[in-house]
């Protein structure tokens, strides 16, 4: 359960990450490949580009959490909606890259290690718990998205379904460069 306190802790701690973003990205991939050396071969040679995408994705997530209760009526474009983006990301990972479920746990470990190392004393138990809950919820969202891949037909067949909305999201993800975190993935043929 992601509470308002968690959102605040994530936003506040991420402000400390921004000045050391490049170092944090280096640390993340270093730790990830320590945990799973076999993942290294699955990335493009351009790790620098991959790091930029990771940071952009994190920035997008944290920014999406930044709204007050008083703003609840405000509309947000679908392509900037955290739930829709992450659901689509989950679908895309499964559909195109066949991401194994175990990679969620490995990435979580690398991410928390990076934040711990990078933030030092500022990475309090409360901040750790907040990031853990956020990541867990995002992983659940991706898995929900992935689980509906097989039901695309049913979803499209339903009178409410709208494939165009999905396409628009995927285009936005491509443009934003946040759709290619291909952990444990094979290049789509």
């Amino acid at each position: 359960m992601l509470t308002e306190t968690d959102r605040h802790a994530v936003r506040k701690s991420f402000r400390l990450v921004v000045p050391i973003a490049d170092t944090a990205a280096d640390l993340f991939y270093k730790r990830l490949f320590e945990l799973r050396p076999d993942y290294r071969a699955l990335f493009k040679d351009d790790i620098a580009g991959q790091k930029r995408k990771l940071l952009r994705m994190l920035a997008f997530i944290v920014k999406s959490l930044d709204f007050s209760d008083a703003q609840w009526k405000d509309d947000v474009p679908p392509e900037q909606d955290l739930m829709l983006v992450v659901l689509a990301l989950g679908r895309r990972h499964t559909e195109l890259y066949r991401i194994p479920a175990e990679s969620y746990g490995v990435v979580a470990e690398a991410l928390l290690w990076t934040l711990d190392y990078g933030l030092g004393e500022a990475f309090t138990p409360e901040v750790r718990a907040a990031w853990t809950r956020l990541y867990t919820l995002l992983a659940a969202t991706m898995r929900l998205g992935a689980a509906t891949v097989d039901r695309e037909g049913a979803l499209n067949g339903a009178p409410a379904a709208d494939r165009q909305g999905e396409e628009a999201l995927l285009v936005h993800l491509s443009e934003a460069g946040i759709d290619e975190v291909r952990l444990g993935a094979e290049e789509p043929s």
């Binding site: 209760d69 703003q71 009526k73 405000d74 969620y104 919820l137 659940a140 969202t141 898995r143 039901r151």
Partner: protein, 429 residues
């Protein structure tokens, strides 16, 4: 116009999970439910606020809570344009989910969301005993007792609270001398040996846990000092030779203010236990005898409770206070009953066996752990040497020590803890 987002079965993703995911979004999102019992419902969420809910003829909060009653059915999630005349929301989604959980809590609902990322979440149930390890449930059926078994509370208190990831387990007993401290200490040790990180909290000002390991002088500060605001957790926690086990003593070298001890600042206990749960997978709390006073303060902050029942007639008579005491806790502050451990069983004593039989007959079926702990001279020896039972002899612990591995296994299963990695080893190279 409705735009479909996802659909699936509530058997695969429960409603709380689906709603938490929906709560991440800013769209005007509907969750349509077709429940297995022929009922249906709808919940609208926007930006983490529940806008409306209906379940058949019910509306509002009542409908929201009612929709969690069925675990069978399908969900369909869609978004649509935000209506121009949005009503005042029913409330924040996280708050309403907590309230709904407080009304109805089940194994799926209590499952930590972290398990969602596991491909194979742990299956609730009872751990099979290790080969060769004696289990009390294999005792022959007891003879008819001479005295009629005492009555226990017959109605299980409703488990409440969405426990989420914290696991704070209070060991309680209405009667003193039932062996709470011994059970809490040895179970905590076994849980740590299984690979879980554990903090054992001594909640009794008498400091029985540290007495049991002959280490009272090691405490620089304790839980009551933290509650009083005169020490921090870091100052009070004591590391042990077990890397995954830490101890939080009850008090430091001097007793805290008597007024403070008797005042039992409940909220400070809740805060302390919550903070400890961030530092370990499981927090085990040994409580003072009885169901009120400090024990009640601790229970308000615990997610689960283990009742310790001494297999002795007087203890069995007072055990009805266990249910009654829990019932007096306010909703939302009442821990779920993890189980009841029968302690100090004497198989050659008919009155003791009568308590065992009475517990089997009168306690709710799921309460009694399969593992029961006998009265055994090894406990006296361990106390005399100031060590936990298992540490009496590292190479050849007394067989009764293995029972705590069984009990820890049952507790881990009931808490749906992720299983530590198996370390199978072949006998031959």
């Amino acid at each position: 116009m409705k735009i479909g987002i996802m659909q699936g079965s509530l058997g695969e993703f429960d409603l709380a999970e689906v709603l938490q995911v929906v709560g991440l979004g800013r769209q005007y999102t509907g969750v349509e439910l077709s429940l297995g019992d022929g009922h249906s419902g709808m919940i609208f969420v926007k930006s983490g606020q529940v806008v409306s809910a209906h379940a058949d003829e019910r509306q509002g909060h009542d409908a929201f809570r009612n929709l969690f009653r069925s675990k069978v059915g399908d969900f369909f999630v869609f978004r649509q344009d935000t209506p121009p005349d949005l009503p005042e929301p029913l409330g924040r989604l996280d708050t309403l989910l907590m309230d709904a959980a407080a009304e109805r809590s089940g194994p799926r609902f209590e499952r930590p969301l972290e398990d969602v990322i596991q491909e194979h979440p742990t299956t609730p149930g009872v751990a099979p005993p290790a080969p060769g390890v004696p289990v009390a449930s294999s005792f022959p059926p007891p003879a008819v007792p001479e005295a009629a078994p005492a009555r226990f509370g017959t109605r299980p208190p409703t488990p409440v609270r969405l426990t989420g990831s914290p696991r704070i387990v209070a060991f309680v007993s209405p009667k003193g001398g039932s062996g709470k401290s011994t059970l809490a200490l040895n179970t905590a040790l076994s849980l740590a040996r299984r690979g879980h990180s554990v903090i054992l909290v001594d909640g009794d000002v008498n400091g029985d846990v540290l007495s049991a390991i002959d280490a009272r002088e090691r405490a620089k500060a304790g839980a009551l000092d933290i509650v009083a605001g005169r020490a921090s957790i870091a100052e009070a926690l004591i590391a042990t030779v077990m890397p995954r086990l830490k101890l939080l003593p009850a008090v430091g070298p001097t007793l805290p203010d008597v007024d403070l001890v008797s005042r039992d600042p409940h909220e400070r206990w809740v805060e302390l236990l919550g903070a400890l749960a961030e530092r370990a997978e499981i927090v085990i709390v040994d409580t003072p005898a009885g169901m009120f006073g400090t024990t009640r303060a601790i229970l308000r902050g615990a997610t689960h409770v283990v009742g310790v029942l001494q297999a002795e007639v007087l203890a069995s008579r007072s055990f009805q206070r266990f249910s009654e005491g829990l019932d007096t806790l306010p909703e939302g502050r009442r821990p779920a009953v993890l189980g009841v451990a029968l302690n100090m069983l004497q198989t050659r004593h008919s009155a003791s066996l009568g308590v065992f039989q009475g517990a089997l007959q009168n306690l709710p079926a799921e309460w009694l752990f399969d593992t029961t702990i006998p009265r055994h001279p090894a406990f006296l020896e361990a106390t005399e040497q100031g060590v936990p039972l298992r540490q009496l002899d590292e190479d050849a612990p007394p067989p009764v020590a293995f029972l705590f591995d069984n009990l820890a296994g049952e507790i881990a299963e009931r808490l749906a803890l992720k299983r530590p990695k198996k370390r199978a080893q072949k006998l031959l190279d």
